[in-house]
């Protein structure tokens, strides 16, 4: 099993810092970013196994970040967060190769389970 490296990316700072704190309380080491460009730099410097990525962000949006991850960091597993009432973004993301998607607001146990599955899939690659 690899050492867990998870990156949370969401432009809502309160959301991302609180969620990170909850994950850390459960023993999952997490880094955070509130910006798509910054997230890509962080991935380049120290690639995580799993990126939890919000779809709608100002500047570089989640789907664009996803496209670049898939082009340059193929092994990294991406879990997409969508806040839309419909599942359209999630389906779009699945077509672009995301590991899975979740609707916001999240269920923390469901998120941890998805991260765990993504970590296992990362190990199998």
């Amino acid at each position: 099993m690899h050492e867990w490296k998870v990156l949370l990316v969401d432009d809502e700072e309160e959301f991302v810092t609180t969620l990170a704190e909850r994950l850390r309380l459960r023993g999952i080491p997490v880094r955070t970013s509130t910006d798509g460009e910054e997230a890509l730099r962080m991935i380049e410097t120290d690639p995580p196994q799993v990126v939890v990525l919000d779809v709608l962000m100002p500047g570089l949006g989640g789907l664009e970040v996803l496209k670049r991850i898939k082009a340059d960091f193929r092994k990294v597993k991406v879990i997409l967060l969508t806040g839309q009432g419909s599942t359209w973004d999630g389906i779009q993301g699945m077509r672009m190769g995301v590991f899975d998607y979740l609707m916001k607001p999240l269920n923390i146990n469901e998120l941890i389970e998805k991260i765990r599955e993504a970590m296992n899939a990362y190990g199998e690659d």
Binding site: T18, E21, L25, G85, L106
Partner: protein, 222 residues
């Protein structure tokens, strides 16, 4: 719908969809914050904290209300997105589920109970989602305005002779179909709903045995 009206509805939908998205972001922050409070409370379970139970209860109340808000914001977001395309394919089961959610408050103020009975199969229809919802809501509202308190309005999804249909069935003390229909005619709700349905290749058919009406769609919009 005229071109200018369609543009106005689409604009209204776009703004509402954007705001409901933002509301969900706010609810997500409240949910995670209350979740963190719950996590921290769990860590202090064994330590002396005189108001532990009261705090814990309040956190669970916050979480229940967040769930309620998320449900409403999600449905309102979908409703707003139903103006995205003038004509789109809808599943009548999903549309009926959404309408029941959006109608709950109206019905509650009239002391009505709403019931949804989906079909056990998908019932797709190419139509104007916003007009269809307006036709069904108008008919349901017309019904509960005629019914005594504590009645039930059921929205049933079905096929009638192979055609997609939505049945509105009413149950209540002393409720008779003839009175219900008379009341709906007098209020203008029956005619208004019929006019909207006609634009969707739909018609209203009396269902005296169900004490209600069926909206039956004989064709799809292109």
């Amino acid at each position: 719908m005229k071109g200018s009206e369609a543009r106005e509805v689409a604009f209204f939908g776009r703004i509402t969809a954007s705001f409901t998205h933002e509301v969900k972001n706010i609810l997500a922050i409240i949910k995670e914050s209350s979740g963190l409070m719950e996590d921290l409370l769990a860590l202090t379970r064994e330590q002396p904290f005189p108001h532990w139970e009261r705090f814990s209860h309040r956190v669970s109340v916050i979480q229940q209300q967040v769930q309620r808000g998320v449900g409403l914001a999600t449905r309102l977001n979908r409703f707003a997105h139903s103006t995205d395309e003038a004509i789109a394919r809808v599943d009548l089961n999903e549309l009926a589920d959404q309408l029941i959610w959006l109608s709950e408050r109206f019905a509650r103020l009239k002391e009505m109970t709403l019931k949804l009975t989906p079909a056990e199969y998908a019932v797709p229809l190419d139509t104007s989602p916003i007009d269809l919802q307006m036709a069904v809501f108008t008919l349901m509202e017309g019904c509960w305005n005629q019914l005594p308190a504590q009645s039930e309005v059921e929205l049933r999804v079905a096929r009638s002779e192979g055609l997609p249909c939505l049945v509105i069935a009413c149950r209540g003390e002393g409720v008779a179909f003839a009175d219900l229909k008379r009341g709906l005619e007098a209020s203008g709700a029956l005619q208004l709903s019929a006019d909207i349905a006609a634009g969707l290749h739909g018609k209203i058919v009396d269902q005296p045995e169900a004490c209600g009406f069926a909206l039956v769609f004989s064709g799809t919009l292109q």
